[in-house]
């Protein structure tokens, strides 16, 4: 009995594969009805299904396939020429077969549906229509899978043959002859064994390194070479060309285009680009969604396209290529592009961003908003897309496998969605770091940059912000986390006080942080192995791996580490308050503020007025026209000492480094010297006490402390009227 079940299973697997091929052939056939190659292939497929299901006793399937076979044999023998209604009939046939197969797979039987209408249609199609035949067009739709909206009009899809390489015609039979199906589990086991072999090889190489026996050396070298080739070979068995996945798209595009009344041509480039099987599976749904979106929203209606001076037929391009150890997939349409203004408006309406933010963020950032949950700009919801679940799911799915999504849009020119995906999940590039003698692997996808502090910087680079450690990375405060402290490892610095500090800058969620490690070793391709259940509860680790010397190293989970150190928690909270539509305070009141310390006063200024933060050594100060200046980016930057301007006494060492806030207006800059730059906070400002002279808007409570809000334009004009006196109108705007 189980033998029979095995046969049925094989039959299903084989038939599904053949049907996918059939879809491709049919779409191609629409373009070039004379191609005997495709007709032959289609005929063979249907014939095989008919033959096998007759043997297995699936009568319904057999009768449907039989009707199709008769029609196809007439076409093949040129007794009949291909007409649009015949193509549509054949598509219905494929759908029906697919449905019956699904029933057999799930229910073990063919199901209750009645296919008499379809069979009758297929028989009717075998007759060359007379003059009146176009009136009584075949009625399709008696079976559920074909839907009701399919018309027998000429379909609107063309498939361009793959531009890379020769046409695949005639290759299929030879390929299928030379392949066998292998259980993926078996391949995984094989891969593990090869991993062990690699380790054994490494040990042998270590032993032979100390030996002077030349024969042993050459044998070890051969072992080395063969092992490497074997490893690559086994890796390859898990790889699949992305074309396998794409082959479903011509059919999807055809159906969607007809449904939407649009004409879409699909072009594919880089079909042969290979990906790990598990990854191919996991990008299937995201890609399908992007393609649907492009046709439904991206591409305009025919009338709109004509009005915009475009051809009626639009083009959807799929492109895949390898780059930097990743696979890039681009899906572009030549449609209307993203309506950035509407996205902005919608984001404000939904409370995703404030009006102020909407003004400031770039077009690129606006485009990224489409990946936010619950966001859809489709004016009306269609049954294809526009329900607001979609692009965020795409983003989540892609990020889950360590990939990224990006969207580029040119108004009127089209939209391109770019996916970057790792080649494989089992083997990832990672940065190996050492902390207190232990090695840890950090997945490269999380890595932004490496910063090394040496010399003076060791003691002064990392600053304490009320206990929280930060480093100024190009003027932005980067939270700092010591890996050894987070892991509870021995915290005494073994290498001495003056050893250089290595900061690994990582991204976690939407935030960044710097991870301080003892040393940075190298990047390596590592094989990810899961941790045992006893260790699953520790969020800091993503798994473990075996290093080249056979020892085990733990793989850090960057997000888990960040959460443990409370680095991303704050970012999240901040995002949440930003995203909450029903925030109690009016949105206009919230602003990003730069907080600086001057003597015993805390000063705040809107971050939007600050162009950069700098540290300038006192020795760099020169004099010009009786004023302190420094050379800054090839220009002269006047320095204003806020302490003397505001009459505050400070206790900073005048010969040390100066903390300078660079303020720019109309292309001119001035440096404001403060004691310390404390923080950047997002806060709602409710001025509690106003007045206090010209230079201060008033005082407010920020982070629980009284802070003066500076009126920078007024302050600077008072201090140095010559600097910004060129336009009174500018004054009016800024005042």
């Amino acid at each position: 009995m189980s033998d029979l079940q095995d046969i049925v299973k094989d039959f299903l697997v084989e038939s599904y594969e053949n049907l996918d091929q059939l879809d491709r052939d049919l779409v191609r056939l629409e373009q070039d009805s004379a191609s005997a190659e495709e007709l032959g292939s289609i005929f063979r497929t249907i014939h095989t299904i008919k033959g096998t299901c007759g043997f297995l006793g699936f009568d319904k399937l057999q009768s449907v396939a039989h009707a199709g076979e008769n029609l196809l044999s007439k076409l093949r023998d040129r007794e009949l020429t291909l007409r649009p209604d015949i193509t549509t009939g054949l598509f219905s046939l494929v759908d029906a077969i697919r449905q019956i197969l699904a029933n057999i797979e799930n229910l073990g039987a063919e199901g209750e549906a009645d296919y008499c209408d379809l069979i009758r249609t297929l028989i009717a199609l075998q007759v060359e229509p007379s003059n009146s035949a176009r009136d009584d067009e075949p009625r399709i739709g008696s079976h559920p899978a074909s839907g009701t909206g399919i018309q027998a009009d000429p379909p609107a899809v063309q498939v361009e043959p793959d531009q890379a390489g020769p046409s695949s015609d005639g290759r299929h039979s030879s390929i299928s002859d030379g392949t066998i199906r292998v259980d993926v589990g078996l391949l995984d086991k094989l891969m593990n064994r090869v991993g062990e072999l690699v380790l054994a090889r490494n040990q042998i190489l270590q032993f032979t390194g100390g030996s002077s026996d030349t024969e042993l050396h050459s044998a070890a070298q051969r072992l080395n070479l063969i092992t490497t080739e074997l490893q690559e070979g086994v890796m390859k068995t898990r790889m699949q060309p992305i074309g396998n996945l794409w082959s479903k798209f011509p059919r999807i595009v055809r159906d969607l285009a007809i449904h939407c009344g649009k004409e879409v041509r699909i072009e594919m480039e880089g079909k042969e680009t290979e990906l790990d099987k598990t990854i191919v599976e996991s990008i299937k749904d995201p890609l399908t969604h992007i393609v649907r979106n492009a046709i439904d929203h991206g591409i305009e209606s025919a009338a709109e396209r004509l009005a915009a001076g475009k051809t009626v037929e639009s083009c959807l391009r799929l492109r895949a290529f390898h780059e930097g150890g990743q696979v890039n997939i681009e899906i572009s349409d030549d449609g209307r592009g993203l309506d950035l203004a509407r996205i902005r408006q919608k984001a404000i309406d939904r409370g995703l961003i404030t009006l102020d933010q909407a003004m400031r963020i770039s077009d690129r950032e606006v485009a990224q908003l489409t990946f936010t949950a619950g966001f859809s700009t489709a004016a009306q919801v269609t049954n294809l897309s526009g329900r607001g679940v979609g692009m965020d799911v795409v983003k989540n799915n892609v990020e889950k496998i360590g990939g990224t999504v990006d969207v580029h849009s040119q108004p009127g020119q089209g939209t391109t969605i770019k996916l970057k995906i790792p080649l494989t999940l089992a083997i990832i590039p990672a940065l190996i770091v050492t902390c207190r003698g232990d090695r840890f692997a950090i997945p490269q996808v999380n890595l932004l940059e490496l910063v090394r502090l040496a010399g003076d910087q060791v003691h002064r680079g990392i600053e304490s912000l009320h206990g929280a450690l930060v480093y100024r990375l190009r003027g932005q405060l980067l939270p700092i986390v010591y890996l050894c402290r987070e892991l509870g490892l021995d915290d005494t610095t073994s290498a001495g006080e003056d050893a250089a500090i290595n900061i690994v800058v990582l991204k976690a969620d939407d935030g960044q942080f710097g991870l301080v490690v003892d040393s940075i070793n190298d990047t390596e391709e590592i094989v990810v192995k899961p941790l045992s259940p006893q260790l699953k509860g520790i969020p800091v680790y993503a798994g473990a791996t075996i290093m080249g010397d056979g020892k085990v190293a733990l793989i850090l989970d960057v997000l888990g580490t960040a959460q443990r150190a409370h680095v991303v928690g704050e970012v999240r909270d901040r995002m949440l308050t930003e995203h909450r539509g029903d925030a109690p305070k009016p949105v206009d009141n919230r602003q990003k503020l730069l907080i600086a310390k001057l003597g015993n006063r805390r000063l705040a200024m809107p971050l939007s007025t600050v162009s950069r933060l700098e540290e300038i050594p006192a020795a760099a100060i020169e004099q010009a026209g009786g004023q302190d200046v420094v050379q800054y980016r090839g220009a002269i930057l006047p320095l204003l000492r806020l302490a003397s301007l505001l009459g505050v006494s400070t206790d900073t060492d005048p010969s040390g480094e100066l903390q300078v806030i660079v303020y720019s207006e109309h292309g001119r800059s001035v440096g404001l010297v403060v004691d310390r730059i404390m923080d950047i906070v997002e806060s709602s400002i409710d001025t509690l006490r106003s007045g206090q002279g010209n230079d201060v808007f008033g005082s407010a409570i920020v982070q629980g402390r009284v802070t003066d809000l500076l009126d920078l334009p007024s302050l600077i004009r008072r201090a140095d009227a010559a600097l910004f006196d060129n336009s009174t109108s500018a004054k009016g705007v800024l005042a």
Binding site: N192, R193, G195, E196, L199, D438, L487, G488, L489, K529, L531, S532, P533, Q534, L535, G537, I538, V540, Y541, A544, T545, I546, G550, K551, V552, A553, L554
Partner: protein
């Protein structure tokens, strides 16, 4: 209970333990381990067992008995428990013995502490007691 159960036996201090032979995959000498910061005290580290990463559990800590003294390195008793393979660190490996099933007795009520759930019972051998380790329980490490 006609067939005589077989046990792989080992020592922790003077305590004589046994694990059913079917549960033991292999016994290997001390392996270099990678410690796992933040993990439970009972986790000794990770070892590379021919390409497979195996978690080693310090059976002394698991049982709540004093730390290992002396120069001798612990041995690994690799046990298969369900899907996972775990190493139990023990002091010294003894032989595989067959015991008389009728010599088994449940632990006394006075057995307390972590050992209560870990020791299934004892076989009364001529010279001493063979304590039967409940491996399923032993590989389950409670979180600190």
């Amino acid at each position: 209970m006609t067939s005589a159960p077989q046990f792989c036996t080992f020592f922790l201090d003077d305590l004589y333990f046994g694990v059913e032979v079917q549960r033991v995959q292999e016994v290997i000498r001390y392996q270099e381990m990678t410690r796992v910061p933040l993990a439970s005290q009972m986790i000794a580290g990770l070892i590379n067992l021919r390409g497979q990463i195996v978690t080693a559990i310090d059976l002394r800590k698991r049982l709540g008995i004093s730390d290992r003294r002396g120069p001798n390195q612990p041995m690994n008793v690799i046990v298969c428990e369900g899907e996972s393979v775990v190493s139990l660190l023990v002091d010294e490996i003894s032989e595989v013995i067959a015991v008389d099933a009728s010599a088994f007795e449940n632990p006394p009520e006075t057995l307390r502490g972590p050992a209560r759930s870990l020791i299934q019972g004892a076989y009364k051998l001529d010279r001493q007691l063979l304590l039967v380790l409940n491996t399923a329980e032993a590989v389950h490490v409670p979180s600190d």
